[in-house]
Amino acid sequence: MTDYDHAAIDEVLHSRVRLAIVAFLAGAGAADFSAIRDAIKTTDGNASVHLRKLEDTGYVTVEKRFAARKPKSVYRLTEAGRRALNEYVTHLESLLPSGRQR
């Protein structure tokens, strides 16, 4: 049995949607809004709220530009976001008995 340390949980990443966004961007490097929304299977509004929260926390950055006269927001994971994801995974792994992580 392992100890469950609530203080060690990153509250921002504890949301499943935000965790999915950060994990998706960790793999993609950069992605536009619609790709993120489709990947995490949510609505425009929900994705927008969670991306704003991640932006405010400094885990993602957004670059707004025009492509074919349409506004396009491209999101990237920051070093802080990547570090937070690594720490979150490390914390989850610490909850498992050693050698039984998969």
Binding site: Y4, L19, A30, A31, S34, L92, L96
Partner: protein, 199 residues
């Protein structure tokens, strides 16, 4: 219970990172593999004058192997009994566009080889024009405006290849187009979205 939840979360994170990687590199890596393979086919055909391996076998390898690569996500799905990792509608549209293009060109190549029409030299011009159209549609679907100029390059190449259809140098021009207008843009797509370091 906590262990189960942690295990589920870790699996979820790994799958989502994999989905991100698929989004970032799938189209680009396919373009690189196909561009290089078909360029090798053209170059080998050009250099083969005077004997060697039959062009039929060369082209079977240069088309068959990229097909195996492009269908990898379906192999994975079949072997692991899992759903595809990136089901977004735009990504799906791109995948189906390129799949349809590949089926069209492969069946036309088989028919043209079977009937001996391939020797007349029009096939590469048709392939270049169709590639131009597919790249053009991809540019819009993927919001990659610069890719439209690659499509224009393919349409220009279509005219050039058609003009050279009776010359051996047509093979060299086609190989160069495959490298410059397919493999190179694919490489750009792979590198511009590649994460610097995985989580």
């Amino acid at each position: 219970m906590i262990e189960d939840r942690a295990r589920e979360d870790i699996a979820f994170i790994r799958e989502t990172i994999e989905a991100g990687r698929t989004y970032a590199t799938s189209l680009g890596s396919d373009m690189v593999v196909w561009g290089v393979a078909v360029a090798i086919g053209h170059l080998t055909t050009y250099l083969r004058v005077g004997g060697g391996l039959s062009p039929g076998w060369i082209w079977a390898a240069c088309i068959g192997l990229p097909w195996l690569y492009s269908l990898r996500r379906y192999w994975r799905r079949f072997l692991r009994n899992r759903q595809p990792t990136h089901p977004g509608p735009m990504a799906k549209a791109q995948q189906m566009l390129w799949l349809g293009f590949g089926i069209f060109l492969t069946t036309l190549a088989i028919a043209a080889s079977w009937t001996g029409e391939m020797r007349l030299g029009w096939f590469d011009a048709v392939a270049a024009g169709a590639l131009g159209s597919t790249v053009f549609a991809t540019a819009w679907l993927a919001s990659l405006p610069w890719l439209r100029w690659v499509a224009v390059g393919w349409w220009g190449g279509e005219l050039l290849v058609y003009g050279l259809r009776n010359e051996a140098e047509m093979q060299l021009v086609s190989a160069a187009m495959m490298l410059l207008l397919l493999a190179l843009p694919g490489l750009v797509l792979v590198t511009r979205r590649m994460p610097r370091r995985s989580a």
